[in-house]
Symmetry: C2
Subunit: 514 residues, 2 copies
């Protein structure tokens, strides 16, 4: 049982006020991270050259497939590639040359300009989980995702201070027709949040719908002159560019909207088992994909992507937070920087079925790699569970809390006079204590990153308060954030036009569930 002194600290007026202040919801969103720390480079110059040479060999000798896409083959032919059926062989140096027109950094605009993000350089933009058909919450467990879940995730993202981007398919709303859900999804991002978001890629026409909706939201001219969406274009590793993904890329590039060109690698399955082999294939795929984007529209903004996991060779199951995935991510970052392109990789990856210790070890391993490998755009930065099949509400807020630590770490270390703290060292001296000294008093509020979630209380206090584990604390936080959520305002005319567009598009074709 806590003694009277402890009770006073826990329940007294000062403590209660502090707790209330701490629990009160802030709608603040942090600025995207601007790194003041180096990148961690694992490959030396020789190794990088070997990989780059080999990637050129892959493109020139083996080539890539552009499937079911004759116009793409024509573009390649005209650009100087050797086209043989659907196989495109790209002469050494050509892809890299074509990539040179892609910008090294670009602005993605949000409907609230204060939320605009700069993607590239030393920056890191954080976006939530993308793709899961299931959701999980501590109360009801695992179930198919719905549009109501989707809206909750968008709200949680809006309320998460350390998340700069609203994301895309935060979960897959399986209760809405496949050919219509993108409309609801975009509508949710546009109206429930004011952070930048992603477009639909599941069909060329849905990419066009995304552009159309943005033209309503931002204005037609604005969209033609500015990047307002960054969308995820997956490559069918190995070395295959399918017509659906290319269709979306073609729409977005033509409209000057950004695309992440992303190999999808489970090492040993879609790429060689070795790190160097995987990096070679990743580079070849990205070179071909980005070169293609520039053939569509020179200057179209793109991101060097790499979704990377390793594998349990006994079972064939993907594994996460592993050293091999880390090594590939660090190496890919170096390759992206040599291409002068923004880099996408890492995320809150794990293979756990619950937001437990496995989930957190693997997530933390990967988030740390993302920070140090120079990632500029991190998709799946919070909420991922079970190998990407599940979007977890509790894990969303758990991860989102850890993202604050990345912000602080990225600030680097100041050695200005105040930071040197020589006054404090003199004032306190041997055997003294710093809690009350002038320097501490002056700096304590900003000196340490502070979790909004985790528990550091003494055992007795924690026990009294219900002996709650991280998931229970997170469940309470999810509830609070959703309860405190307030929709950002929007010009009623735009709101009406968006709603009308969605309704009209939905009415214009029958529901399809595949």
């Amino acid at each position: 049982m806590a003694d009277a002194e402890t009770r006073k600290r826990v329940r007294g007026g000062g403590g209660a006020a502090r707790r209330a202040a701490r629990g009160a919801v802030s709608f603040e969103t942090a600025k995207y991270i601007e790194r003041n720390i180096p990148n961690f480079d694992v490959l030396n110059e020789e190794a990088l050259q070997i990989i780059e040479e080999n990637a050129e060999t892959v493109l020139a000798e083996i080539g890539v497939n552009f499937v079911n896409n004759p116009p793409a083959l024509e573009l390649w032919r005209n650009a100087g590639a050797e086209v043989d059926g659907e196989r495109v062989r790209i002469p050494r140096g050509l892809a890299r040359k074509l990539c040179a027109t892609a910008p090294s950094q670009f602005t993605q605009h949000a409907r609230n300009p204060a939320r605009n993000v700069e993607i590239g350089g030393r920056n890191l933009v954080l976006a939530p989980v993308y793709g899961p058909p299931f959701v999980h919450d501590a109360q009801t467990g695992r179930r198919y995702a719905t549009m109501e879940d989707f809206r909750k995730f968008v709200k949680l993202g809006y309320m998460s201070k350390w998340l700069h981007h609203s994301g895309g398919t935060v979960c897959e709303p399986t209760d809405v027709a496949v050919n219509k859900r993108h409309l609801d999804m975009l509508h949710a991002h546009m109206t429930l949040s004011d952070k930048p978001f992603m477009g639909s890629v599941t069909e060329k026409s849905r990419a066009q719908d995304s552009v159309d909706m943005c033209e309503i939201l931002f204005g037609k001219d604005f969209v033609q002159d500015n990047t307002v969406m960054t969308s995820l274009i997956n490559i069918n590793s190995p070395l295959t560019f399918d017509d659906v993904m290319m269709g979306a890329l073609e729409v977005y590039a033509a409209n000057n909207q950004a695309c992440i060109i992303s190999p999808f690698i489970v090492g040993g399955a879609m790429a060689p088992v070795s790190v160097a082999g995987t990096l070679t294939q990743v580079l070849a795929e990205v070179l071909a994909g980005i070169a293609y984007s520039q053939l569509i529209r020179p200057g179209a903004p793109v991101i060097f992507g790499a979704f990377v996991t390793s594998i349990d060779m006994n079972s064939g199951a993907p594994t996460f937070g592993t050293p091999e995935a880390a090594q590939i991510t660090y190496g890919a970052g170096q390759l992206a920087r040599r291409l002068n392109l923004p880099f996408r990789s890492a995320g809150s990856f794990n293979g756990s079925k619950l937001p437990d210790a496995q989930a957190a070890y693997e997530t933390a391993n990967t988030l740390n790699v993302g920070l140090l490998s120079g990632v500029n755009f991190m998709l799946h930065a919070c909420g991922w569970l079970e190998g990407g099949l599940v979007a977890s509400f509790e894990k969303f807020v758990m991860d989102a809390d850890q993202l604050g630590a990345l912000h602080k770490m990225a600030q680097g270390i100041s050695v200005d006079t105040e930071a040197q703290a020589m006054d404090a060292l003199r004032e306190v001296g041997p055997g003294g204590h710093y809690l009350g000294c002038a320097h501490t008093q002056a700096h304590f509020q900003s000196a340490f990153w502070k979790s909004d979630l985790l528990d550091y209380k003494p055992y007795e206090t924690w026990s009294e308060e219900g002996a709650r584990d991280t998931v229970m604390l997170a469940a309470a936080r999810v509830e609070k954030l959703l309860a405190d959520y307030q929709q950002p305002g929007m010009d009623p005319a735009i709101a009406e036009a968006l709603a009308a567009y969605v309704a009209e598009r939905k009415a214009s074709e029958p529901d399809a569930f595949t």
Copy 2:
């Protein structure tokens, strides 16, 4: 429900055999990590010089206290320091000069020479949790630690492939008299394991007992000529060297046994709130402590220590896995390398009361920092819980599993011909699959680090198998390791002599419980 195919994969002969092989206990211990990756440097040359200059100012102007230790004051006086009561002011440059006789790398011998470790250079030696008065297991929860718990932890450490060192006070056996428990503890390390271990530091006489026991175990001459113990000497930060810790240091240094000279920092309490200020104090403390060790015996092996946490300024509670602790650890690594000394820091730190997601986020954050900051000796590498108050059985094996990932990450990336995998890329090509190709077949067994604990199975299978979270999986692993434990053999004469020594020392004085 899993379909028949899945059932077959899970329960079929091949799977069962693989599972049995996987569960079968291996008594293999990995070699200490030899890094083939760079260190992550966060401070530039200017910043390092500022901190080094300031540390000299601290030593020369403010000085340090050597409490209750007139012989120490005499040594300092003779060395050229200015002694004023218990305050020792060390002229600029003197401490660094005295440190120069400390070896940059040394061998700690184990009773099984295959388990010897090289501490320093690019190596990383991993040792378990140290100090907790409580233990925790999933079955019985939190309770005071006993000698039986201690023995279990030593056995678990012996059975943990990725742990190179048996450690010291893996938990504090509160059921044995304070003045006698060190005998049982050392006896356990010496007889239940054959890995290197740590000596007692709680009293000068107990350090001497540790040396005496080692002389029985290794032979008297061997102990005088070789390092067989590495012990933890904490500095009373700020800037205070107490007589108990110095007493132990004096015994060990005089006997050529190694000591970690370790500031004990809760930022904002025992050190300034700023990272740079903390690094200055850490460096000053270590310079003074290591210089002192060299005054006792030039050439005595020592390690630049830094136990570092941050603080929740609202409550005063230490916090773990934080960005500030990471920054301090990276910076301290750089300072240690500039002094050409081995470096100790990081560990499985966290503030959680359970082995849950908080515990794992914070642990993983810190383990990753340890690897990248060039740590040479990592104490607390597994098993830590609740701010260091608890040694957790489940967390011990959970962390010990993650330590394997550090080994793989440290290997770096090969770009030899096999690693380049060009044959595989040619064989598989666009749209192919790597699982069956020759390169994969040749390399899959070693290509990926493999967890001995975590679960990557599909949801249905995992659910069928009991929907076990990481703690439940870990509890099963603890049970299995202890059940499979076999004591390493020992010369019966030595075993007898050790037992006799312990019995004689215990009989020679009454029990003391403080």
